[in-house]
């Protein structure tokens, strides 16, 4: 194996082109095997093996700075920078994260996971170099899909006026996570078709020098190109035409499905195996969407580049036809776009992941809420998880719920969810967001006939005394189990409340609890700081009712097992009941 001789980039520099090509195939085999075992970003990594080898061959990291956009495509980089054991040795498969991580290696400059940041980070890195009169190369590797994000475009506009070295390697595989959307992609196509020679060139229009590499999976071509731009004294874009999924036929042909795969995807014979359809929040959402699309031509579904998260597969998207827009990676645009749709009489439903809704705050505030546009947002995956630090989904409640006019709803079961969804889509008074439960589907079998236009009415699920449990959204089931456990250990019949509304206080109900409750606890599946529970604490802060808020601490956690987080944050029925008992005992003193 050539790879046996390669531990760090310097080892590449001794190899011939032929050996580098062999190395690429060895790495390809490793990635396919490892990613099939653990799950991960298969197709993006297969497409960028050659370019990564060529970059590390030509440039001198870590002196030269290579910054990966999203950094989901950094597997080859990790293999070449001291971490190949994470791909060779199954015992170490989980040792390294799937993104660049400075705590792992000096070759990783930033902790990155969200899209469209690399160009701006490169501009800052280059400027810092210039301030100290350094001379290293600064390289940003960015995919065509990421280019449509506002931060990337702001970055390009600023990169172009740097009067020193900065190299933008545009990894153009003609795909985002799903297909690309937007006018710029026709220009990329034109550039590919003209071998980079079309006079109308987006990057030249932005002020860059420009170099095109048609064979983006050919190490020799790439080395040649990178040698041309190495130590360049001005901004340049190197546009490389790569093949997503390169070398794994099924991935080449199913680029979207193989963007990120579950473990053992390659081992499953899809053609023979019957896939069992289980009802979940995605499926009931999509059933609702399909029904609504058919009966209401003003209804339109919008998302930004991650349709797979919502189960909007290719067939489903095609069925929705002109009542569906994927805006590409462009969450700010999605917010303003849906706001205008709603203001002009359409009924937009915008699906977005909790972690990615972070990419648009001002537009939620100014474009949507200030205009009181009746947009419906579905916020997916909100909750505490064992995710990478870059993909935490615990901040959406502080982000969304503190904006005036917004109605943020937290359903606890299928029937409630569908009632909220239908209300939100058809009303014209408020911007509404719904936190799609991130737990398994719960069904009561009983239709929810609540009128959600009466805002901030909490649901009294069962009336007890002494302790009241306000259990929100996907933590409602936890609330139920706390109630039961409390009965068994303390003999207390606690009150259980489903608040349903994240954005407001049911003053009447909270006031009434003062009569015969000593303690109110809140349970929320998200960060406590700026969240829901603190508002309950504020409400009772001038009374004798005590409050305990349960939820996540304000911290970035990184792939910490969920059980460990639940234990850390006291989010089990046993730990919660212990805290309740302690607090009640204190009350007695």
């Amino acid at each position: 194996m050539i790879l046996d001789k390669v531990n760090y980039p310097k080892d590449l520099k001794e190899l011939t082109i032929e050996e580098l090509n062999t190395l690429a195939e060895e790495i390809r085999a490793l990635i396919i095997k490892k990613v099939n075992a653990t799950g991960g970003h298969m197709a993006p990594n297969l497409g960028i093996i050659e370019a990564t080898i060529a970059m590390h061959y030509v440039f001198n990291a870590p002196e030269d700075k290579i910054i990966f956009d999203v950094s989901h495509q950094c597997y080859t980089h990790k293999i070449l920078t001291g971490r190949k054991e994470g791909f060779i040795n199954p015992d170490k498969y989980y040792e390294y994260t799937g993104y660049t991580a400075p705590e792992e290696s000096i070759y990783d400059l930033f902790k990155i996971g969200h899209t469209s940041t690399a160009v701006s980070l490169a501009v800052g890195s280059a400027k810092a170099r210039d301030l100290r009169n350094g001379s290293e190369n600064v390289i940003a590797l960015v995919g065509d899909g990421s280019l449509s994000g506002g931060e990337a475009l702001e970055g390009l506009n600023n990169a172009a006026v740097l009067s020193s070295n900065i190299i933008i390697v545009l990894n153009d595989n003609d795909m985002s996570i799903a297909e690309n959307h937007g006018g710029m992609y026709d220009n990329l196509k034109l550039l590919r078709e003209t071998n980079g020679e079309a006079p109308c060139n987006l990057f030249k229009a932005l002020g860059f020098d420009y170099l095109y590499v048609n064979e983006g999976n050919n190490i020799e071509s790439l080395i040649k190109a990178f040698n041309i731009v190495k130590d360049i004294n001005h901004p340049v874009v190197v546009h490389i035409n790569t093949l997503k999924g390169c070398g794994l036929k099924v991935a080449e042909h199913n680029k979207e499905a193989f963007h990120w795969i579950m473990p053992h995807t390659l081992d499953i014979n899809n053609e023979t195996e019957e896939v069992e359809i289980t009802e979940d929040y995605n499926s009931v959402t999509n059933d609702y969407i399909w029904k609504k699309v058919q009966e209401d031509s003003d209804f339109i579904v919008v998302n930004a580049a991650t349709p797979g998260v919502f189960g909007f597969n290719k067939g489903f998207r095609t069925k929705l036809d002109n009542q569906y827009t994927d805006v590409g990676i462009a969450e700010e645009h999605a917010a303003a776009y849906t706001s205008a749709l709603a203001k002009m009489g359409a009924k937009p439903l915008w699906a977005v992941m909790s972690s990615f809704v972070q990419r648009t705050y001002d537009q939620l505030s100014q474009d949507i809420c200030l205009n009181n546009s009746p947009v419906t947002m579905l916020v997916y995956w909100g909750g505490i998880s064992s995710a990478d630090a870059t993909h935490l989904c615990i901040f959406d409640i502080p982000l969304i719920s503190n904006i005036p006019n917004m109605v943020y709803l937290a359903p606890t079961n299928k029937e409630e969810y569908l009632a909220m969804l239908d209300w939100a889509v058809n009303q014209t008074q408020y911007p509404a967001a719904i936190r799609v439960p991130s737990c398994e589907l719960v069904s009561t079998g009983v239709e929810d006939k609540t009128d959600y236009s009466i805002l901030n009415k909490y649901k009294m699920v069962s009336e007890g005394s002494k302790v009241a449990i306000i259990a929100m959204g996907s933590f409602f089931e936890l609330g139920k189990s706390v109630k039961e456990h409390l009965k068994s250990v303390l003999g207390t019949e606690a009150t259980l409340i489903n608040p349903r509304f994240i954005t407001g206080i049911d003053e009447e109900m909270l006031e009434s609890l003062k009569q015969n409750h000593e303690l109110v606890i809140t349970l929320e599946d998200g960060v406590l700081d700026g969240g829901f529970g603190e508002k309950i604490s504020r409400f009772y802060s001038d009374s004798s009712v005590k409050v305990l808020n349960f939820g996540a601490k304000k911290e970035f956690t990184d792939r910490i097992p969920l059980e460990e987080l639940y234990s850390r944050y006291h989010l089990t029925k046993e730990l919660i009941c212990e805290d309740i008992e302690k607090c009640l005992n204190l009350c007695k003193i």
Copy 2:
């Protein structure tokens, strides 16, 4: 006067070109007089008079939808859509806002004040039209300065693939608020210089049809162009070359100074009058910056397009030389750029207005805080004000302070501010933000020697009992007056605390207050929801100490006088003391 005959756009359609030209001059005179009396956006409005007349002449608003970016340039539009009295009659000068406002007129489609939103709003408006098979024109008027914002670029990329009518009128006056920054502006220059015929064309590269109008202040040329694109069946950019400040020589020659002027600017003879220099938070900041720039070549100041807000005038910016970057309207880029600068060893100081920091949340979280980059942010103008709803500065505390790793500081006087600033700039451990006091400068005359690397240590200013006042930042002076008033009305010697840290709890001090305090009150100059006070409420929620949080309600207020807001929110010493008294009486029951 031609204007006597013109109340609505339909009245324009009866006029000859000559009459339209006369009308333009009448409107110009009105705007100059009114804006000089009230203050406002002088130069942007003078530049767009002819284009606004031509748009309303050719298109049929309100059926045709005209969407103004930022909408600070909408004065002529207001004059032509039933609101000319607001410019003619001094008694009505303050009747209409300076931005488009749907509550004023059906000709105003959105409440807008932040930049770079119009293209995306137009795409949504056009799509809503297409869903109902409508045929009206949708027009976005956007300035060249706004184009560098991520939302505008995301919008353009999506607008270009709409397969129906959308008309982007690019008002190119070769200026942002200050000068433009970024590679795209060279392309705009090239297009102006080639009468729009250069083959390398940013808008064509994005997929648009394109039309250039060199005489952007010539009504006849504009009408001709707008007639060409009227009812077009695909996306088109109409690039019009206008003169910012057109028709007012002093504004034409001082475009930045006349972007927004104070009342009576034209009446002041600048050459003879001595301007008295008073020390304020801007001047002490700039003194610090200038000193630091001279002694430390790694120190660099960054802002996004509003240098005037910080008092970074042209001369000052020139002095800072390569240790200053204006990134243009590009707050997301500013966040990532400063993060990388800090990670690579430079010392970036990023100045940003509270209202505009909203334009970058994910980048604060992912690019800066997750990477723990020692960026220093100066957040200006934070606090409750009588501002337009579009420019409120009350949301920065929930926005910034709930992100892990961030250290958000609230100085209460000059010496504290400078100590915090110097600490923040020179440390390498944390992202730090400082909320520059929005009140008049307070000086103690005593150097602050606090070590701010010991986080979350509140300052016990005076130790009393029964009631403790935690008074943050620019509300510290209010806290002092509450303490005095409380003594005079209740005879209570209250404890006064300056928390200094917004992002954390001084558990030791708060715990110690339990000994001899019944009530803790918090004062913050911002919205309560998700803010500082709620964290204090949470801290005491399981104890017998009562808490009252004072601050703004979660609502969009629109040009409400400050006194009225203070009264509404109980932010006067009298109202606060009444609430304290009520709460203490309740405690006794």
